[in-house]
Symmetry: C2
């Protein structure tokens, strides 16, 4: 087991299990063959051909496309095919910064394998030359990765909110970080990965922020996602990450990026380039 | 013109102009078709087939392979085909950290299009919330990119020296940075690019370091590579980089990475993901 194994695990998928999901001639995602058949049962919205699942071309505008796809989504939820409805809309676009082609209920994001975005924040404390990272333990009742180690602040990026504004919202809800402190968070880059997860294709890009916290700051979770927080030296974080699967899979990638940028991992490692250059994914 | 154009320019090549260069069955580089013919004139060392230029399999060990290839290199220099002999050996391996398959005179690196490595250091000064970057202007008599803007410290990575030790050497030679100060340089990641340059394939990975300098530090160049240094606010650096070709091509990439990590460029830019994720190259 190694740090590199954490990165490799986030780049594994078998395209034969999926077909492209197209809107207006552009590939927006990957959908499992059996699920493409389910979408194909709504031929006024989807065309399920051998080579791709496509949204009908007559749904040429954002509003009508969003409404039609949402109707199918609700029907699939009613039939028990889609589970875990979140009542959160995610924008779907060819790339970040492009105009969204439609908004999609979050529970459907993995089903269509479209690009999704999130914000992750490394909350850290300096103690002389040492760096300590705040690590949260996810509550045991979470639908996603219960009990795993997580960031101080992390969340998906819904429609109509900027990465920074979303980070501020999550910082208050997830860790009770005062606004004056949270707004000092520094955007430090992005990481990307594409992988099979729970039978779906996951194609994520995470905006990475760092926030240096005062030694006397203690986080408190407000939304029930995190059961407890611990301040860990980077040596301990590195060891847990390399030797166990205790960290939520994508948190591990952001932490590797953090350890690289902070100079905790150095070019004297034989795997340094693989670690430093393996975090851009298939973007 | 834009920052993204700087990244795109470092990822442009036309594989039809080249054939793979193989050693022991592994592709180590790309060589132009006409140059492959020149290497092919030494059939005791190279086999020039239609699909690849290969080092003969009987040259199975590092020492014999290095000696045989070097003999051909000297012959090509004597014939005026290889120019700019440097008397510097670069290790050639399938990837960083792997055992080198041979050492190659630096002038031959572009001819065979093998992976090369370098160290680049962002030397910066904090002034309140502002960050200023030390920028060097290359001497007008340099063979590579004369007159272009450059880093405070940068150089290729020769054989038998670690990235950090090489950085310390270059920091003394190129900018007269005292050793006690230079050793505080923080390794902050790597960037990679593959591009056609002067008719050759260039396949580089750069180890990136940051060094925060005191406000009263002034660099001096000792080796004639840099004519003058200037301390520039990041706003000015960004504008010059986006609007002109004044920066040496690869320095621009390292500076974009620096501006991202320092939070000078933010996720509110529509091209943020392209900038942040476009620096890992084809690694």
């Amino acid at each position: 087991m190694s740090l590199l194994e954490r990165i490799d695990a986030c780049h594994r998928y078998d395209l034969r299990k999926f077909k492209p999901f197209l809107v207006a001639g552009e590939r927006l995602g990957y959908v499992r063959h059996d699920l493409a058949s389910e979408f194909g049962k709504f031929p006024s919205v989807f065309t399920n051909a051998a080579e791709a699942l496509q949204v009908k071309e007559h749904l040429a505008r954002f509003d009508s496309r969003t409404a039609a796809i949402n109707t199918v989504a609700q029907e699939l939820a009613a039939r028990g095919i889609v589970k875990g409805w979140r009542n959160e809309l995610f924008p779907v676009a060819t790339k970040f910064g492009a105009a969204p082609l439609f908004d999609l209920e979050r529970a459907l994001v993995p089903f269509l394998g479209v690009k999704a975005y999130g914000v992750h924040m490394n909350g850290y404390v300096r103690d002389g030359d040492r760096i300590l990272l705040w690590v949260g333990k996810r509550a045991d009742d979470r639908p996603i990765e219960p009990g795993k180690l997580d960031h101080l602040v992390a969340g998906g990026l819904p429609s109509h909110i900027s990465p920074f504004d979303n980070l501020m919202k999550e910082a208050a809800e997830e860790a009770a970080i005062p606004k004056e402190l949270a707004r000092r968070a520094n955007p430090a880059g992005a990481i990307a990965y594409r992988m099979e997860l729970n039978g779906h294709m996951r194609d994520d890009t995470l905006f990475v922020y760092d926030l240096e916290l005062p030694a006397d700051f203690t986080p408190h979770n407000h939304d029930g996602e995190i059961a407890s927080f611990e301040l860990m030296p980077l040596d301990a974080v590195e060891r847990i990450l390399a030797e166990t699967e205790a960290f939520k899979f994508n948190v591990g990638l952001v932490v590797i990026d953090f350890m690289i940028r902070m100079g905790h991992l150095t070019p004297e490692r034989a795997d340094y380039c693989d670690l430093a250059l393996g975090l851009a994914g298939p973007y």
